[in-house]
């Protein structure tokens, strides 16, 4: 077992112990212990409800994530590369960066009705400005010497994208993917709570009305686990592969 995994397990086990201890001492249904929450997860899993709602939320997160990353990257790229585009779009970017997520969600629901498209669009609108702002920094920091080299050796457009720009943008893409995943799934829950009849957010809404803290924790932890799996299974291997050229990666 790697020392990293051992540390991770030790911290997790420690937190669970403290949680159990607190729950036992307080002995109130408003703070269920880890065992009760785990039992709730198993019950919900058996009934099929957990899987269904997790699946629905995950689908919304995926669609919103992919769209927001693509749109935000294109927007950030254009703003980072062209002074004029930046001048024209910067006030708009600032406006959307500071527009509360809740306002966007409510407005889109009012304008489009309580439909799936409005829900996903609201999440995308919330995330695109963050991606754009990060990628813009990346696009501004491209190495001019390599740019000149690519010019001198007449790199094709495709070569420039794949071999020159993407590797330089990679840390910025990675940063916006990390914060993006975290932000998007939180916003998706709000969107579901306000206007959808399925998904983790909707279940939290039901549990909230019943003051069912056990279900709230069961659904939350289930989704956190999924996000953690995406981090381990997708983002970290991707990062490791892309950073091979730097040699030994420093573990964060």
């Amino acid at each position: 077992m790697s020392s990293r995994l051992r540390d991770y397990l030790a911290v997790t086990a420690g937190l669970v112990c403290i949680w159990q201890l607190a729950a036992t001492l307080i002995a109130d249904p408003m703070l269920p212990g880890p065992v009760a929450v785990f039992q709730s997860i198993v019950t919900e899993w058996r009934s099929g409800a957990l899987l269904h709602h997790l699946g629905v939320t995950l689908r919304r997160v995926t669609i919103a994530f992919v769209c927001a990353m693509i749109l935000g990257t294109l927007l950030g790229w254009v703003m980072g590369r062209s002074l004029r585009a930046n001048r024209l779009l910067d006030p708009l970017l600032l406006l959307f960066l500071n527009l509360p997520a809740l306002v966007v969600i409510i407005l889109l629901y009012v304008w489009m009705g309580l439909v799936e498209a409005a829900a996903v669009l609201a999440v995308i609108v919330n995330k695109v400005p963050n991606v754009a702002a990060t990628i813009r920094e990346g696009a501004r920091s491209l190495d001019p010497q390599l740019e000149e080299m690519a010019e001198a050796y007449r790199f094709t457009r495709w070569q420039r994208i794949r071999d020159l720009w993407l590797p330089q943008l990679f840390p910025y893409l990675m940063a916006s993917m990390r914060t993006g995943l975290a932000l998007i799934w939180k916003i998706v829950l709000v969107v579901e709570l306000l206007g959808r009849s399925d998904g983790v957010g909707f279940q939290l809404h039901l549990a909230f009305q019943l003051f069912d803290v056990t279900s709230i924790l069961a659904y939350s932890f289930s989704f956190i686990a999924i996000v953690q799996l995406i981090e381990w299974g997708v983002l970290q291997p991707l990062e490791k592969r892309a950073r091979r050229w730097q040699g030994e990666m420093q573990h964060a």
Partner: protein, 212 residues
């Protein structure tokens, strides 16, 4: 293959101008002078990287292929040595042959950060040759190398030039001996064409003309 009539080019508050240059197949020309005298600026103009100057740059038809080896190796750090070469030539065998020629075949799979400066320069040289250029531009290929590495690099350039007698070369160097060694004609900025270098306010200087 290339004709340059440079009337005026301002850089760093100085002026380069009144220069005619013709480069034909097999020519070997060295731009020699102290640092900051405009050698690299002129090389950029010859190479077509810098088009903001007064004058004319004419290329023969069909257009000659020009390869530029920069003073910094400028390799893509996230690509291996072989991949860096194959950005320029698509054929694997050609890339490996060139690496063999610059004596770096065993470094094909290494990343640029694993190379010394001398090795990285040789990779950059191989990449320039991978273009199969009609005109090769070398910007200070020996600068900041230790004497033995510099000598090795110089011998390598000599060898590669012997193998490619039709390829024209423009070398930028601050050391006239290097230029002599590969048999290049000198365009000495400070002495031969004193008029090449002018302070910015003296725009009426006489022509320092040089035909190669």
């Amino acid at each position: 293959m290339l004709e340059l009539e440079l009337e005026e080019k301002g850089y760093d508050q100085r002026l380069l101008g009144n220069l005619n240059l013709q480069i034909s197949a097999g020519d070997r020309l060295a731009l020699v002078g102290p640092s900051g005298c405009g050698k690299t600026t002129l090389l950029n103009i010859i190479g077509g990287l810098d088009r903001a100057f007064k004058g004319q740059r004419r290329l023969a038809d069909p257009e000659p292929k020009i390869a530029y080896m920069f003073q910094e190796p400028r390799l893509l750090p996230w690509r291996t040595v072989e991949q860096n070469l194959r950005m320029v030539c698509s054929c694997r065998n050609q890339a490996l042959d060139l690496l063999d020629e610059v004596e770096l075949l065993d470094a094909a799979c290494r990343y640029p950060r694993e190379l010394s400066l001398g090795m990285a320069r040789r990779v950059a040289l191989a990449r320039a040759l991978a273009l199969e250029p009609d005109l090769l531009l070398l910007d200070e290929p020996l600068v900041s190398l230790d004497p033995s590495t510099a000598l090795r690099m110089l011998r390598l350039v000599e060898k590669l030039l012997r193998k490619r007698p039709k390829m024209a070369l423009v070398l930028v160097s601050h050391n006239p001996d290097d230029a002599d060694r590969i048999g290049a004609q000198l365009l000495q900025f400070d002495t031969v064409t004193g008029e090449v270098l002018l302070p910015n306010n003296e725009k009426t200087a006489s022509a320092g003309q040089l035909l190669v």
